[in-house]
């Protein structure tokens, strides 16, 4: 049985179309607050970064993590706690969150990469669920209440982030920085090895690569960036809650990446925009959101495996 591999539109080199796409994206991010409620747009940017981090694993290493909420959610707890209780400045709180994501990624990665494929997905899900229960019980997460009224603080002790514009610029900078970092990783020699592992792990092993180490490092990087996204979200919404560590959040990030296009550079960003936008638009139909998400999942898997950006790239015969 010949099997179609997971990522379809993988990148070999940094292309001109990608550069143009990046410029368009920057322009959109800069102009968005004029016509989109800024808090919503900031939330979208966080999820876009989260989805990009997730895509690094699924799209370029072929590992489907079903527990990425673990890193996103716990990083948001750590950053919220650091900002509120220890009085960290926002940049330090976000760094603390990122480190927490990386640390958890290292531990979870060591366990999870012992198995492949479906098992990997189930193990990451189970680990995330375990940490979810821990978050419910642990006193410092505030359990059901979460960590509330997190101060946005002063960036570098100077710029007051309670100011919506300052906050927006900060979030946009974090997102674009993260995005460029991921793009750099993908195009580096390290990224090439990852893609080799995705295509044929046995072959990569026979070529002398210690694939376990590469996979682990990719996992930690992905977890750390998911952590950055979660930490930033906690400061924007001034809240860290159980929603962010729940399995449905892990499912959502898979959905975003799938809708946008697995293994495409811009796919996760588009996917995050579509899914979060939809959730916001459908907020008054609250209970229908899960059903609609399920339908999108099914439709994507059956008919639309390349995702929005993947289809677009195939149509225009470019790499995105």
């Amino acid at each position: 049985m010949k099997q179609e591999k997971f990522a379809i539109a993988g990148l070999q080199t940094r292309s001109r179309s990608e550069a143009i796409g990046f410029v368009l994206m920057v322009a959109f991010v800069a102009a968005a607050p004029l016509f989109i409620y800024p808090v919503l747009m900031m939330k979208i940017l966080c999820f876009a970064l989260f989805a990009c981090a997730f895509n690094l694993l699924i799209g370029y290493v072929g590992l489907l993590s079903f527990g990425h909420a673990l890193f996103f959610g716990w990083a948001s707890y750590v950053s919220a706690y650091a900002a509120k209780v220890w009085g960290f400045t926002p940049e330090l709180a976000i760094i603390a969150g990122t480190l927490a994501g990386a640390g958890l990624g290292l531990v979870a990665g060591l366990v999870a990469i012992r198995r492949q494929g479906i098992y990997f997905a189930m193990i990451t899900l189970a680990l995330a669920q375990m940490m979810y229960f821990f978050a419910v019980q642990a006193p410092f997460t505030g359990g059901e209440d979460g960590i509330q009224a997190v101060p946005r603080g002063k960036l570098f002790g100077l710029i007051d982030l309670a100011d919506q514009t300052a906050m927006y610029v900060t979030v946009a900078a974090i997102f674009l920085g993260g995005f460029l970092l991921i793009s750099r990783i993908i195009h580096s020699p390290f990224g090439e090895v990852l893609k080799a592992i995705r295509e044929n792990e046995a072959r990569a092993v026979s070529l002398g690569y210690k694939t376990e180490r590469y996979k682990l490092l990719a996992f930690v990087l992905s977890a750390a960036l998911a952590g950055t996204a979660g930490a930033t979200k906690a400061l924007i919404l001034q809240l860290a809650s159980l929603t962010d560590v729940h399995w449905s959040m892990s499912g959502e990030v898979v959905l975003m990446t799938l809708v946008g296009g697995l293994g495409t550079v811009f796919g996760p960003v588009v996917g995050a925009y579509v899914i979060i936008g939809m959730q916001n638009y459908l907020a008054q139909f609250g209970q229908w959101v899960t059903v609609i998400q399920g339908v999108i999942f099914v439709v994507c898997v059956l008919l639309f495996r390349r995702g929005i950006v993947g289809e677009l790239a195939a149509l225009l015969r470019i790499r995105l």
């Binding site: 004029l34 419910v136 979460g146 919506q164 514009t165 809240l239």
Partner: protein, 403 residues
Amino acid sequence: MKRVIGFAAVALALSCGSVQAQWSDGVIKIGVMNDMSGTYADLSGPGSVLAARMAVEDFGAEKKGMKVEILGADHQNKPDVGSNVVRTWIDVDKVDVIVDVPTSSVALAVNEIVREKNKVFLISGAAASNLTGDKCSPNTVHWTYDTWSLANGTGNAIVKTGGKNWFFLTADYAFGHALERDTAAVVEKNGGKVVGKVRHPFPGTDFSSFLLQAQASKAQIIGLANAGSDTINSIKQASEFGIVKGGQNLAALLAFITDVHALGLPTAQGLIMTEAWYWDLNDNNREFAKKFAPQNKGVHPTMVHAGVYSAVMHYLKALEALKSDADGKAVVEKMKSIPTEDKLFGKGEIRADGRHIHPMYLFEVKKPAESKGAWDYYKLRATIPANEAFRPLKDGGCPLVKS
């Protein structure tokens, strides 16, 4: 609000500064936010929107030239969904007051946003007593009940009627711990004893193991410091394991009439619980229920619905006196300065910490034979007078009280 200049086109800016008529943007917007589809949908949900609408009608807002609009939203019991809705309501839709909000976690999040944006927050559904304690806000009124009043009502009454030895079955998260702590304090103050406790995972499905531990403790009373489906399942399984038949009694520390309805009288009979309002308590309540139930799929009003009605009524009264809804703090100030009075909660007051003061009632669930039909579920065992029903002002640690 002054800080959004950066986004000229954002609708936010519209509400600031401009000269306004009596009501900001010409209409009083009431946002009823609660659980429209989940565990708490029956005890709050669409019924609370209905209660708010009835309050506006009964107040006669239209005749008084007040244009009132009611919005409803589902917070799905998630604080981030809730704060998202409230931010958008206030910034974009110009909502003036947020009402109901069961689920303490969401209420605590909304409490902060409303304070920051200087609007009004009328809580009916949420239980956390720190909303009028260390988290109290000059923009918030906590109307119906709280964990302290439930613990106090139930704990007090049971110990006085001889239930001295307690065992707690506690949901293992902040809310469960708080409920257990408050009740244990009351039990011990009244000369009772806590002989043991066990913490069950939240949310739980199988309580048999914990119930067996409770049974082995030989305690007279098993206090259920949990809520929602956890409480329902513990009561069900307790009846399965013959715990009540074996001579032990269950005390639900947070339960609603809708929970009793879901359990059915054969399972729920004998259960003791505290509530702030019951539809069959007097003629006014019965009349309200008669009008309410047919519009709410037959579900009778709970204390949360009644609280929404009463709170909205008082809010409108304050607006009428103040002739403005722009400054949330001023509105709540006014609400505190005029005494409360309406047909459902009678006479009362709102304290400096935002706590609405009224009597609480201790009920026992009827035996199937005693009930005359659907929703005839409670026997009144005691009335806790208003001055004893709530936590004394000085014990809450609310910063507003000192000044």
